[in-house]
């Protein structure tokens, strides 16, 4: 498969570009931020995502979706990133659906219709500390009757406050650090014992601290295998990470574009600052970094779609490289904007904030760079 979008993907790309630019540009994000929206995103927009078919990209055709793959999800996510569009797309329609695809039919029947119609929102309850450490999950799920009882806390549950269901990774056996013993649960947020403490983040998205106090769930709530949730968790993580990489790439790419435009128009010392060679070299270097990141992201998605064994490695490369390139993009962006880059009036600062939140989501550059070393065996 050549490493560029095929004609169908290109068409999807064009419609995602048009849709996001038209319906959810940066001004849309500002609007929802400024009205201190408690969910941090527009439910009406989420409905429009559904109408466009975006929410069903990873849902099989026989189940009413488009039956497409991670490349296509990435096409949408890159535009979400470029426009800083607030949306539960990544947690719901990408990572969430990917996990449910590995679950039973009952779960899919329960949640897919709402996702396809743009009514249902999912969130991911993985992290337990301030850093992403899925191998250190310690939250307890003990057998109780026909099902399980969940006790513990989760952090950084993005969209957790507005989610209808959260996918919760917990231990049904073993202890933090053990490879086996994890189980993934689909927990309705209305269940007794679930409490959510919503916090607005630097990029104005909402994330919840969630607490589970003796929350009872049926055996049906298990996604994948009991004590062997590693496989489904990895699918969820790979989808979430490659998706986050694509969104990050959109942020970095968008920040670069507005910076290039800015330096083409701003004069100092009688010249356009874009004509200063020092800036030219720095932004040309940035261009190169963004191009490399784009190649990694697409490669990771293609490998995921192929079910390749090397997908894990490339997903970490993509998340790390997209994070590195985009951190550079927003840093250079603000600096090259100068004083106005520090103002809320200009968009570049919003890109910096969005990047910061995405860096932490599903493992940062350091985490994934370390995974690359570990996967290589050193």
């Amino acid at each position: 498969m050549p490493l560029y979008l095929n004609d169908d993907q290109k068409m999807l790309h064009d419609s995602a570009v048009e849709f996001m630019k038209g319906e959810a540009p940066v001004s849309h994000m500002r609007e929802f931020r400024d009205k201190q929206c408690k969910d941090g995103f527009s439910h009406a927009l989420w409905k429009q995502f559904a109408e466009m078919g975006f929410t069903g990209i990873l849902i099989g055709e026989d189940e009413g979706g488009l039956g497409l793959g991670h490349v296509e999800a990435g096409v949408v996510l890159e535009e979400i990133g470029r426009n800083l569009t607030p949306s539960p797309f990544l947690t719901t329609a990408v990572a969430g659906v990917e996990a449910l695809n590995a679950g039973g039919k009952a779960l899919r029947d329960k949640y897919f219709p709402g996702i396809l119609s743009g009514d249902t929102v999912l969130a991911l309850a993985i992290d337990e500390g301030a850093k992403h450490r899925p191998d250190q999950i310690g939250m307890a799920a003990t057998r109780e009757g026909n099902g399980f009882k969940l006790d513990g806390k989760k952090q950084f549950v993005v969209q957790g406050g507005s989610a209808d269901m959260v996918l919760v990774a917990a231990r049904t056996s073993g202890k933090a650090g053990d490879e086996k013993g994890l189980t993934l649960f689909a927990v309705d947020t209305g269940a007794k014992g679930v409490s959510r403490d919503n916090a607005r983040l630097v990029d104005s998205a909402m994330a919840a601290h969630m607490q589970f106090d003796g929350v009872l769930v049926d055996a049906d709530a298990v996604v994948g295998e009991v004590d062997d949730g590693d496989a489904v968790l990895r699918r969820l993580l790979n989808a979430g990470r490659s998706g986050a990489a694509a969104e990050t790439l959109g942020v970095g790419s968008g920040a670069m574009d507005i910076t290039v435009d800015y330096i083409k128009g701003r004069s100092q010392f009688g010249s356009l600052i874009g004509s200063f060679q020092a800036l030219q070299h720095r932004i040309s270097h940035l261009y190169s970094e963004i191009e490399v990141a784009r190649a990694c992201v697409l490669k990771a998605q293609q490998l995921l779609d192929e079910g390749s064994a090397s997908a894990d490695m490339m997903v970490s490369v993509a998340k790390a490289k997209a994070g590195k390139a985009t951190a550079l993009s927003v840093k250079e962006g603000v600096q090259m904007h100068g004083g106005v880059g520090m103002t809320d009036e200009y968009d570049i600062g919003l890109y910096m904030k969005r990047d910061r939140a995405l860096q932490e989501f599903m493992g940062d550059v350091n985490y994934h760079t370390n995974l690359v070393a570990e996967m290589q065996g050193y």
Partner: protein, 397 residues
């Protein structure tokens, strides 16, 4: 005991006896800084501490006593600073008058100007702001357009400034104006005037950190008298020589800012190791982050040595006159890197923007604030240009 040690002991005793207990608590927010001025509001202890220090001249310890200063030698002033830090006494007064205008007046001012303005500054009676940048002139400051037209006994000032720190709360402004349109650097005049003058208005600028410490400031036919009272000129130095004053102050500002990177008291890695956790070998349990923290800690210690060397050579007149530009460049870039790692180390907890747990997003807001370090007071690019030209003497720089 040497004279200096005697001074140290006496100073410590005096501070212990006179500094109000509230003023020995760590500051918890920007509000805890005292800026003085005509409309100053004070929290408990602040006014008392300001007045008692001002009476001793210790808001500006190394200024001459005749201008409201403490008349201390450089060594004594350093000891005072050390003792205040040791006893955790807060600074009694934050002031652009002290940091910026005062040094300019001490260097360029007439005796009448010094006698009139400096004591007001020392006592925190007048809060000053700085009118330098304009929307069209950022790094190229000398391209400023705000005009001051000679009308005999006064100037008529028209134009717009930007990045005026706390202009909406300031009493007076020291302002660069254009008095000759046919010259660039030689057509600028350094003017002092009252922000309450008719025709002055301000508009706060909202920053990405959420704060609004800066304003846009507009001058619409503002009449600035040429002298205040009998003989206090509104111009510092001479007409059309304001660029000399500005350059002096920029150098002064850069050497002040240049210490930023070194302000880090303790090792970042040490601070975060327990929070993030340690691996079986006792190392901070994020190997790549640990490597970056180690590199940063090394750089911070290196910069601390550089700051010491800069201070020593600067005082002894041994460093290159453009060296403050290098210090400003290195220090501000380092401080930005430092805050990037603080954010990485803090993880999702420091992403919170409004929560109590995050102290209202303090870390994230501080992080965003550092991005201005390499822009304000001369961008990193301008610093590198200056090094190229003045230190390395590269062609065409």
């Amino acid at each position: 005991m040497s004279d200096l040690e005697t001074f140290r002991a006496e100073t410590a005793a005096w501070l212990e006896a006179n500094c109000p207990p509230e003023m020995r608590q760590p500051m918890t927010s920007e509000d805890d800084a005292v800026w003085g001025g005509r409309n100053a509001t004070f929290k408990p202890g602040q006014k008392e501490w300001l007045d008692i220090m001002a009476a001793k001249g210790w808001t500006v310890p190394d200024w001459p006593t005749e201008y409201g200063g403490g008349g201390l030698s450089r060594a004594e002033a350093k000891v005072l600073g050390q003792e205040m830090a040791r006893l955790r006494c807060r600074s009694p007064l934050s002031s652009f008058g002290i940091w910026m205008l005062g040094p300019a007046l001490l260097h360029f001012g007439t005796e009448a100007q010094k006698k009139y303005f400096l004591p007001q500054i020392a006592r925190g009676e007048i809060r000053w702001c700085q009118g330098y940048s304009e929307p069209g002139s950022g790094s190229d400051l000398a391209s400023l357009q705000t005009s001051a037209i000679d009308q005999g006994d006064h100037y008529l000032v028209n134009g717009q400034k930007i990045w005026t720190s706390y202009a909406d709360q300031a009493d007076w402004i020291f302002c660069l104006t254009r008095t000759d349109k046919n010259e660039k650097h030689k057509g600028i005049t350094f003017l002092l005037f009252d922000m309450a003058s008719e025709g002055v208005s301000t508009k706060p600028i909202k920053l990405i950190s959420g704060a609004s410490p800066f304003c846009e400031t507009f001058f619409d036919d503002v009449k600035v008298p040429k002298t205040y009272g009998e003989d206090v000129s509104a111009i510092v130095y001479e007409e059309n020589k304001g660029w000399d004053v500005a350059k002096y102050l920029l150098g002064h500002e850069r050497s002040m800012i240049s210490g930023q990177g070194g302000s880090a008291g303790s090792s970042l890695g040490e601070k975060f190791a327990d929070k993030i956790g340690r691996d079986e070998m006792g190392r901070l349990d994020d190997p790549i982050l640990r490597a970056k923290l180690a590199d940063l800690d090394m750089e911070l210690l290196a910069f601390r040595a550089m700051a010491e060397r800069f201070g020593d050579t600067f005082k002894a007149g041994l460093c290159h006159p453009a060296q403050p530009n290098m210090m400003k460049y290195v220090g501000t870039e380092l401080n930005k890197s430092r805050y990037e790692l603080i954010m990485s180390s803090g993880g999702s907890a420091v992403l919170e923007w409004e929560s109590d747990a995050s102290n209202g997003g303090l870390t994230a807001r501080d992080w965003l604030r550092t991005k201005a370090n390499s822009i304000e007071g001369g961008t990193s690019e301008v610093m590198l240009n200056v090094i190229s030209k003045q230190i390395l003497r590269l062609p065409g720089a």
